[in-house]
């Protein structure tokens, strides 16, 4: 009888373990975010945020001291003066001393996950949350205003200083007064949107998950033009001399005329492009799911491609003259490469560097 009971308990424990393993508990469901500021590189990667030396990749500090499986950091940390604002999946927004990683304050009013990073506007931090609210707090972490959308907010807003613009899963692009949080206008983007918008000279460029890129008048939200591309749009386009450069989920890099949205050219790559590219002196660089870093000239000619271990989902960042690549499910989560794609340094979790 005792043996039977023991066997049964062991069997149940094994079943529970199997269920937990098979159901994928603990699997990552986002990609790391990286921010460059002064001599630091800040990396939000799972249950830790790292401050790394920008020249060497050495760890200066990490936060929190005691990592938690629930408190996951994926959004790019945002710098507000000497504060580093980090947001997490356990509905927390925390201010850290950017140099030491010491916690200054935390804001816990949100009910959902922070998927993307907050926007810092002088003395205001505007943070989108998956609970459908945009939270604006001051530099002491006190709530200034809240704006409630109809569904989750996954993208960092853009702003001209007076209005903040942001997409929502509820299919709308919102324009909200930066001081009061009151709605100025909203425009139906037809399909849910998770991409950040690009604001340039009074025009907003923003894409939805169905692969339609819109140009809107920032003053009233009226649609100037719309253009369908090969696949869903997950990031803001890049703008250079009247041309928009935009990756999509089908793996294309699209070059569009910013005045009318006409597709000038597109370049096929091997897999989905979700992150924003980066403007270089001689062209643009995009990363894709297959781990390819593709650099094309401004006229669409392919300059070079390098393949790395992992998926390049995240936005590519510039670190001085170099590029920072965040690799999901790769051996090295963060890689600094030169403009020819050669590795300068890397940061890996196990060895804590190089």
């Amino acid at each position: 009888m005792k043996n039977n009971r023991l066997i049964l308990i062991l069997l149940f424990s094994l079943t529970a373990l199997l269920l937990s393993a098979c159901t994928g508990a603990g699997q990552t469901n986002s990609w790391a975010g990286v921010t460059v500021a002064d001599e630091y590189v800040y990396l939000a990667n799972g249950n830790l945020v790292y401050a790394l030396n920008g020249d060497s990749g050495n760890t200066t500090w990490e936060y929190p001291q005691k990592a938690s499986a629930q408190r996951l950091f994926y959004a790019e940390p945002a710098l507000a003066g000497e504060q580093l604002i980090v947001v997490d999946y356990a509905h927390g927004m925390t201010s850290l001393n950017a140099k030491t990683g010491a916690e200054t304050w935390s804001f816990e009013d949100a009910k959902g996950r922070y998927i993307d990073s907050p926007l810092v506007l002088d003395d205001l931090i505007v943070a989108p949350n998956a609970d459908g609210s945009m939270y604006a707090v001051n530099l002491s972490g006190n709530l200034v205003w809240t704006f409630e959308a109809e569904h989750a907010l996954w993208a960092r807003p853009v702003s001209d200083g007076e209005t903040v613009y942001f997409t929502s899963m509820d299919k709308n692009l919102y324009a909200v007064n930066a001081t009061s949080g009151e709605l100025s206008w909203k425009t139906d983007l037809k399909i849910s949107a998770v991409a950040r918008a690009l604001l340039d000279n009074g025009t907003l460029y923003v894409g939805n998950l169905d692969g339609t890129l819109f140009a809107l008048n920032a003053a009233d939200g009226s649609i100037l033009w719309e253009q369908k591309v090969g696949g869903g749009i997950w990031a803001a386009p890049l703008l250079h001399e009247g041309k928009l450069y935009l990756g999509d989920q089908s793996g294309r890099i699209n070059i569009l005329d910013s005045t009318d949205g006409k597709v000038i050219q597109y370049i096929e790559t091997e897999s989905a492009i979700l992150g924003a590219g980066v403007l270089l002196e001689n062209g643009v660089a995009f990363g894709n799911e297959a781990g390819e870093l593709i650099v094309i000239g401004f006229n669409g000619e392919r300059l070079w491609t390098r393949t790395f271990d992992g998926s390049l989902y995240s936005n590519i960042q510039k670190n001085g003259e170099d590029l920072l690549l965040t690799l999901t499910q790769g051996e090295k989560p963060l890689l600094a490469v030169d403009l020819n794609g050669n590795e300068i340094w890397n940061f890996s979790i196990k060895s804590d560097k190089k």
């Binding site: 039977n4 049964l8 149940f12 269920l19 159901t23 509820d170 299919k171 869903g232």
Partner: protein, 270 residues
């Protein structure tokens, strides 16, 4: 392979039902009922096997074996096995529907996580799992995860004013319904107190509700909802087949139901 056979059909079916009824919680309930209907042939087999076991316990030879080898567990087991073989009864066949449910539970959990798309990678996967000729991502997004007081994509807790912690109502309901469903569908106690099968069954009835309750407490409430509906449908299916034993949960009748096993079959209650 797993994605193609299990996850993708589940996701598409769930999304399709959700699109029809406009609520993801209701979609899970309907989906569960549908899977129970599809799996009914297995349940019917389980009921048949359970009935055969009950009949066996009234069999003269079975009672004789229990009495004769009361003190010799090994021999008793051998004789019982012989009798099972002779009467072509598989005492383990009642476990089959439960075992088959495990891949469904795992698949449902993965489908739920990906359908709720609470993070970018889940959303990316979801967009790839949708059958383009069957559903359009644009039509199903955004999914509303609210059902009654719960968020389908998160573990369920009911917050009551004045109480500074959330009550896991659904997990408690899972424990209770799992216990009730396993007790009332179980055959009456075996005449032999040393019947190992009965012992195992008794222990299963104790541990299984807690295992399911723990899963319901720690995983998404959509899965807990699946457990509750599964239990209720199971009770209904057994009741329709006339095979429920309410006496098993009637504690006040405990003494009556555990009378000595040597009573002649004609005097034993069902």
């Amino acid at each position: 392979m797993w994605d193609t056979i299990i996850i993708e059909p589940f996701i598409n079916l769930l999304l399709w039902i959700s699109k029809l009824v406009g609520n993801f919680g209701v979609a899970i309930i309907l989906f569960t009922i549908l899977t129970k209907i599809v799996l009914y042939p297995l349940t019917a087999k389980q009921i048949k096997s359970s009935t055969a076991m009950q009949e066996l316990q009234k069999d003269k030879r079975y009672i004789e074996i229990q009495t004769k080898y009361k003190g010799d567990k090994e021999r008793l087991a051998q004789e019982q096995m012989k009798l099972y073989q002779e009467l072509k009864i598989n005492p383990m066949s009642s476990c089959l529907p439960t075992l088959i449910q495990f891949p469904i539970i795992i698949g449902l959990y993965q489908a739920l996580i990906q359908t709720m798309a609470s993070g970018p990678i889940d959303l990316l996967k979801l967009s790839r799992h949708i059958y383009p000729n069957f559903l359009n991502l644009a039509d199903v997004l955004p999914l509303t995860s609210k059902f009654l007081w719960m968020d389908i994509g998160a573990p369920e807790r009911l917050f009551i004013p004045g109480i500074n912690f959330g009550i896991p109502v659904l997990a408690i309901v899972v424990v209770i319904t799992t216990y009730i469903s396993s007790k009332i569908i179980a055959p009456p106690p075996s005449p032999g107190a040393n019947d190992q099968g009965a012992m195992m069954s008794k222990m299963m009835n104790i541990y299984m509700p807690f295992l399911m309750g723990w899963l319901a407490w720690s995983l998404q409430s959509g899965l807990a909802l699946y457990f509750v509906v599964t239990n209720l449908v199971q009770i209904a299916q057994y009741a329709i087949a006339g095979n429920v034993h309410w006496d098993n949960i009637a504690f006040w009748k405990k003494n009556e139901t555990t009378k000595p096993s040597v009573l002649p079959p004609s005097k034993r209650g069902k």
